[in-house]
């Protein structure tokens, strides 16, 4: 009889362990909203992260001084009740009273000062620093009034307020950066209950919230890396809201009877960045003719029409049609293989040129794999021999790119930190020396600097028209299209697809039957 023991034993262990595995938290389906993300955040400290997911989660636990109204796309008050220019370089902001952090401490001007000083401290290397680099000092006038001194006129001041979460001065001083990575203490509509890395975040409604209270008591944010699994979860009722649905899969969701899709143009332009600045060393793209050839090789209009089912807006440069400063008169590159081949030959590559292409997963850009396939095939026709190097984890790809290891060609899309202005992409992605920029052009840098410090919007628009002309002629990168996001939404939930890509679960309500 001894013989049977091991088998029975193994089974018993398996069963025991299975049964004793941690049980799901006690929430009912009715008061819980489930939202799926493809990859997890690296930290719960939004200013320290570059990830879209960190911004999204930040919106739930933290508040901003100003927020964008999703319908009008205008920026309005939030934790700040009003703001005005005292002079060209001073902004005075009045704060909302009676707001409390999750730990009970009241929100005052001290917190605003501490938040901005933390982000601006060069030693801390916060990702969000570039957003606010023009702010010189933050002064507390009284408990609910703050004055910002800026380095020259700063027209984007209010826009940028939507990109900065308010953190507690007490937490910053007493707990420090490491603690804040895992313990967000905000004033927002939800509180973080539990974070199981790469698995799930559980948020509970902040019943002391100063603003409109969210409908759902719990929000579960599940990390589901496989797209097929996400869709399966949505149509089987396991998840309520998913984003970045591939255009090809919309019919699966719409026909399921369980969920539907919604799409919206989003403030994000996709492109292939070319290493013009030679950050990864000498490469063919330092030659303008090669960059132009790449742009001329690709039939972007055809790809939008046939691969994206029309869900994309062709752009002439990196500037998104929704952003302030976009030039509608600039016509994008159109496929011209003969011209592309000629330019390549002129540049010294009559027999084609070899290029390494770093690609990432479809986290923010729908159908990226398929469109990449089509782009690579088009480029091959013009003589580009593209060697593809796929990185499955977006955070890693981003880290590499930041390190200057992205060249000579890589996938990139920029979400403007949800600031609807040309400057929000020009500064970070085209200005010489910035972490995500692989382009270096003194003339453009000057235009960016002037645009940043001009208060008159008409003059600014003219500056950006010039900048776009320059970027188009110089073919800085391989320009693709403005993205349209596709969301999958369960039929039990009412939810509006957000144009700024920031999902707000606190706006979701049950759907009326």
């Amino acid at each position: 009889m001894k013989g049977r023991t091991p088998v029975a034993f193994l089974c018993a262990i398996a069963l025991l362990l299975g049964v004793s595995a941690p049980d799901a938290l006690a929430q009912t389906k009715e008061d819980t909203l489930v939202y799926a993300l493809q990859s997890d955040v690296d930290s719960w400290d939004p200013p320290a992260s570059v990830l879209r997911e960190a911004i999204i989660l930040g919106y739930h636990v933290y508040d901003h001084l100003a927020v964008r109204d999703l319908k009008t796309r205008k920026v309005g008050p939030n934790l700040a009740t009003s703001w005005q220019n005292v002079d060209d370089t001073t902004w005075e902001v009045k704060l909302r009273q009676g707001v409390k952090f999750h730990d009970g401490t009241p929100f005052t001007a001290k917190d605003v000062k501490a938040t901005f000083e933390r982000v601006l401290d060069p030693a801390r290397k916060m990702t969000a620093r570039g957003n606010h680099a023009k702010i010189k000092t933050v002064e507390v006038v009284d408990d609910f009034t703050v004055r910002f001194k800026t380095d020259g006129p700063y027209p984007l001041f209010v826009e940028r307020l939507t990109a900065q979460v308010m953190q507690s001065s007490k937490v910053i001083a007493e707990k420090g950066d490491d603690w804040m990575k895992e313990n967000p203490v905000g004033t927002g509509p939800y509180k973080l209950v539990k974070w199981n890395r790469k698995q799930e975040h559980l948020l509970v409604r902040n019943d002391d919230y100063w603003g409109p209270k969210p409908y759902f008591k719990y929000v579960r944010v599940r990390i589901i890396p496989e797209q097929a699994t996400q869709i399966a979860e949505l149509v089987s009722g396991g998840v309520d809201i998913i984003k970045a649905v591939p255009p090809d899969q919309m019919d699966v969701i719409d026909k399921s009877g369980q969920a539907r899709t919604a799409s919206s143009p989003i403030l994000r332009t996709a492109m292939l960045q070319l290493d013009q600045a030679a950050r990864g060393g000498p490469n063919p793209f330092t030659d303008r003719r090669v960059r132009q050839a790449a742009n001329l090789a690709v039939d972007a209009d055809g790809i939008i029409k046939h691969v994206l089912n029309g869900l994309g807006d062709r752009v002439a440069t990196g500037i998104n049609p929704m952003a302030f400063g976009w030039d509608p008169n600039l016509k994008p590159y159109r496929q011209d293989l003969a011209q592309a081949k000629k330019l390549l030959a002129d540049a010294g590559y009559p027999n084609g040129v070899e290029i390494t292409f770093h690609e990432g997963p479809p986290i923010v850009e729908p159908a990226i794999q398929q469109t990449n396939d089509a782009i690579v095939a088009d480029m091959a026709k013009a003589g580009f021999k593209v060697k593809r190097n796929y990185t499955g984890d977006n955070t890693i790809l981003v880290a590499r790119i930041k390190d200057g290891k992205g060249g000579p060609m890589f996938n990139w899309s920029w979400g403007y930190y949800s600031v609807f202005d040309a400057d929000a992409i020009l500064y970070d992605v085209f200005k010489c020396g910035e972490a995500y920029s692989y382009y270096c052009n003194k003339e453009l840098d000057d235009l960016i600097a002037t645009g940043r410090s001009t208060l008159d919007q008409k003059t600014r628009a003219e500056i950006y028209v010039k900048a776009q002309k320059l970027l188009f002629d110089d073919a800085a990168y391989l320009y693709k299209w403005g993205l349209r996001g596709v969301w999958g939404i369960s039929n039990r939930v009412e939810y509006q697809a957000p144009a700024d890509e920031v999902d707000r679960m606190y706006l979701a309500t049950p759907r009326k039957k």
Binding site: A14, G18, A228, G238, G281, I396, K405
Partner: protein, 306 residues
């Protein structure tokens, strides 16, 4: 018996040292860790600074000794990516993977034992072939394909199981089946050959001649003896199962250590990789030791001769 266990323990120590050397070598065999970490355009000063920080300027045996003596205390350094201790990160993700692997083993046995025994008893008949085919079919279906098919059938169409995630027992069914199907063919092969061997032994023939019912013969003798090689190999297959676990975890959004390791490999986050590899190897070693002792208890020949 005591000598047998002592020998096992000595072997265990040797294997553990070997594993620690191999996992230490990961970093050095693959390339220069500093170059892997630094941006391509980093200057010489930066390079030297990093070399110092990481202690890479010291002789290799000093570095190994440091690594090993810290590892014994559970200190594998801080994750270069998440900036928290690697040991904690790995430990936190260990249980889901171990549960999943055991559940997979259980399923593999549930499939392989009956099929293997039937195939052996009906050797060289249609039944044998069909049993073999069923088992091989499990292996021939790539795990992620099988996984997504299961999700489509049981979660999307029938809506009887959760499509993914980790928590209740329902979450175990599909991933465990996927892994089990991956392991079943080799297990079945073993059961089959084990039973065939046993059935031709004299004592079985004697039992049969004595008129003991066939079913009883199978149950009492054949089954028990067929277990020996199966148990042994299952111990060894534990390592193989990890390969399957990586894919299974990804498809079912299972928060295990296998996906963590793959992510860390992609991150080139070597402290986490080293820690995960050492801990996983330890689990495998312990399982194997356990198996060897079990086999030793079951099989008197080994106890005596060793």
């Amino acid at each position: 018996m005591r000598a047998f266990i002592a020998r096992q323990l000595v072997q265990l120590v040797v294997v553990i040292i070997g594993i620690s050397v191999l996992s230490f070598a990961i970093l050095h065999v693959i390339g220069d860790p500093v170059t892997l970490l630094l941006p391509q355009n980093a200057g010489k000063e930066e390079y030297e600074r990093y070399t110092k920080i990481m202690g890479l300027d010291q002789p290799i045996w000093v570095q190994y000794w440091k690594f090993a003596s810290r590892a014994v205390q559970g200190d594998f350094g801080r994750s270069w990516y998440a900036d928290t201790p690697a040991f904690g990160l790995v430990l936190e993700r260990m249980p889901p993977t171990i549960y999943l692997t055991f559940a997979g083993l259980g399923v593999a046995l549930l499939i392989a034992l009956p099929l293997g025994i039937i195939a052996a008893l009906k050797r060289h008949t249609m039944v044998d072939t069909v049993c073999t085919m069923i088992a091989v079919a499990g292996q021939a279906m790539p795990i992620f394909w099988l996984g997504i098919m299961l999700i489509i059938i049981f979660a999307v169409r029938l809506r009887v199981l959760p499509a993914s995630g980790y928590g209740s027992w329902e979450h175990y069914l599909m991933p465990a089946f996927c892994l089990g199907a991956f392991l079943a063919p080799i297990t079945m092969r073993l059961v089959r050959s084990g039973v065939i061997e046993v059935m031709s032994m004299d004592y079985i023939k004697t039992a049969r001649a004595k008129g003991v019912a066939e079913a009883l013969v199978v149950a009492k003798h054949a089954f028990r003896n067929a277990c020996l090689p199966v148990v042994t190999v299952l111990g060894l297959q534990f390592g193989q199962l990890l390969g399957g676990a990586i894919v299974t975890e990804t498809v079912f959004a299972w928060p295990g250590v296998a996906t963590l390791t793959v992510e860390s490999i992609r991150n080139q986050d070597f402290p986490v990789v080293q820690c995960a590899v050492v801990l996983l190897a330890l689990v495998i070693v312990v399982v194997n030791l356990f198996v060897d002792v079990l086999v030793g208890l079951m099989d008197p020949r080994i106890r005596v001769s060793g």
